[in-house]
Amino acid sequence: MEVLAFLIPVSLFLGGIGLAAFFWSLRGKQYDDPEGDARRILSDDWDDHPKP
């Protein structure tokens, strides 16, 4: 059962990374236009070089 001493912090840490990523995406306004983002992936405008 000693392994719990590692596993629980590790699982909480990994979950915490997920939560931090969610906050980051929320702050980056990634949920403002879900429909547009779903369509934008189909456009090939910036396939060759990144948008300036």
């Binding site: 719990l4 909480l12 979950g15 906050f23 949920y31 403002d32 236009d33 429909e35 369509r39």
Partner: protein, 730 residues
Amino acid sequence: MDGTVTPSVSACPACAVAPAAADVAAAARADDSAPVLLSVPGAHCALCISTLEKGLEKLPQVRSARVNLTLKRISVEAAPGVTAADLIPEVARLGYTAHELDSGMLRASGTDTTGRDLMMRMGVAGFAMMNVMLLSIAVWSGAQDATRDLFHWISAAIALPTIAFAAQPFFRSALAGFRAGQLNMDAPISLAILLAAGTSLYETWNSGEHAYFDAAVALTFFLLIGRFLDHRTRAVARSAAQELAALEVPRALRLTGAGEAVVPVAELAVGDLVRVLPGARVPADGVVEDGTSEIDRGLLTGESLPAFAGPGTALAAGEMNLTGPLVLRVTAAGRDSSLHRMADLVAVAEAGRGRYTSIADRIVKYYAPGVHILAGLSWAGWMLYAGDMRQATNIAAAVLIITCPCALGLAVPAVMTAASGRLFRRGVLIKDGTALERLAEVDTVVFDKTGTLTEGRPEPTNLGEHPRETVAVALALAAGSSHPLARALAEAATSMGIGPAAVTGLREVPGYGVEGRCGERSVRFGRAAWVGAEAGADTAAWLRIGQEPPREFTFADRLRDGAAETVQALVARGLRVELLSGDAEAPVAALAQRLGIEHWRAGVLPAEKADRVARLTAEGRKVLMVGDGLNDTAALAGAHVSISPATALDAARTASDIVLMGGTLTPVAETVETSRRAIRRIRENIGISNVYNLIAVPLAVVGLCTPLIAALAMSSSSITVTLNALRLRR
């Protein structure tokens, strides 16, 4: 959202417009660097995005353009001084219709802080729920003694801060309810969450067997989802309603000694001179000083026949000037104008409507006290039976957790989101939260004629009775005019393959007609009296060639797309359909016959429309009013629920609960159908969650409910009701 303009069903829709216009003017002065916002209702695919963005970014004055497809808007960063009016033609060149949106009015809804806040709480609660559930599974599968205590303590360490942060919206709302002396839905929610966390902490402290941390966090998470969906539906409706308000920024051309100046309508004063261009709305009540023209009173009175206007004619705000420019001396502005008298009528009609209590509110009224009484009784019962305070409190907490109104908190918003999302895609905008519920109860539909069942655009009816050469002369004369009858004739004749005759010296006499010379003979096309004919009952224009007797070209209003099918569909569903119009008897009777409407009335005044709706309501009928004009506004506000097309005057749109964005009436029948299905789903959902309660509550009361059973009952009922709600999307 704080600081937004509330486009709700205010007592006086028109009053809301004037201060908004003042805000708009102030915002425009304050901020030049804000992005220009345009509404593009036609954008719908990946290609639209890249066409619009690339097309706009090619322009030298545009720095960047970004399409938001969810809200169907473009935000353009442009050089200072570039306005929406400069960009609309460019968007039109790319093949899309664009409307101006005022960034000042929309800024608050652009960054949706409340929505983001709710989403953040949801994320935290979701994260905590996953972790606590993992730990709980270990306990459920048989962790003992020190291990179980350790897991409970870790759960507590995750759950307590989460509840303190994520459940704040419920606590705040419950507290606000208490202050107002009401027991709202958030009271049992808050109590269940707090009691579950509290007893679990106590149990953990005493190395107890059962802790409900997972239930407390899961409850918070599921209810936050419901709260978020509810907020999102409202926010989309509200921002779209604001777009509508921003569509028509009322302005007027004021004549001063120095020339003309564009001013907001709110700044007009009695005695000002205003120029009204052909095709523009009359901005304020006044008397014509100079110029002759014809005016369309359709939106105010429902008359389809344009009336003559010359010096001395009194005009009312909202009428449309058709042919010639007019100079108007303002006799009443702001509060005294006829627009505001109409608003008073609306206020009276709204007072008669009364407040509608939604299904959820009605149930909560019995539910919230019932749940508390049940929990209290089980606590008292166990105290009497076993005398163990700790056990009794545990059982009371379990009862509260099981009965927590997940179905109301999640199922109703989920159904409403699915239904309004489905309708939004079909161009129906639900402005009011309870509109769908009210629509489902409707048994009578009252239609307005001009502008609602008809497009308010005439169509020639007897072109075939005239010789081709005559039509060719009429076409040559009509082609030079912007009068709606002339345009309709020109369009119809051209589509019949008739070319214009050679007519020279064309001259339009505003308010009368067009004249010219065809070879040796003088020709005139216009009002009956001007060409020397007797006016008949129909809407008509007359043509005289030389000394021949005048010929009559009759017109009928063109049916709105989908009008016939809509009326048929509504009648087929067993609804009583009525037609109330301010127009003359002959055209109304013809239209009623054409559409198969049995009950109709012509020449109805605005107050009589509202009266008729009130009388139907008094007979116990639930009335759906569909109308677009200022004369319908009071009836729209007084009806149980109301729909107006996007072409309606803004006052009418503000007064109605639902707006049709497209040009067709077809969605009306579908909206009624969808609303009925939505209400059926809500009932089903409440039934489903009651079934779960029926199974789990007795277990909880007799003390057999373990945290595992609570978690199972709660999660499965939440998932079932959500899936059931999603069936509406198809």
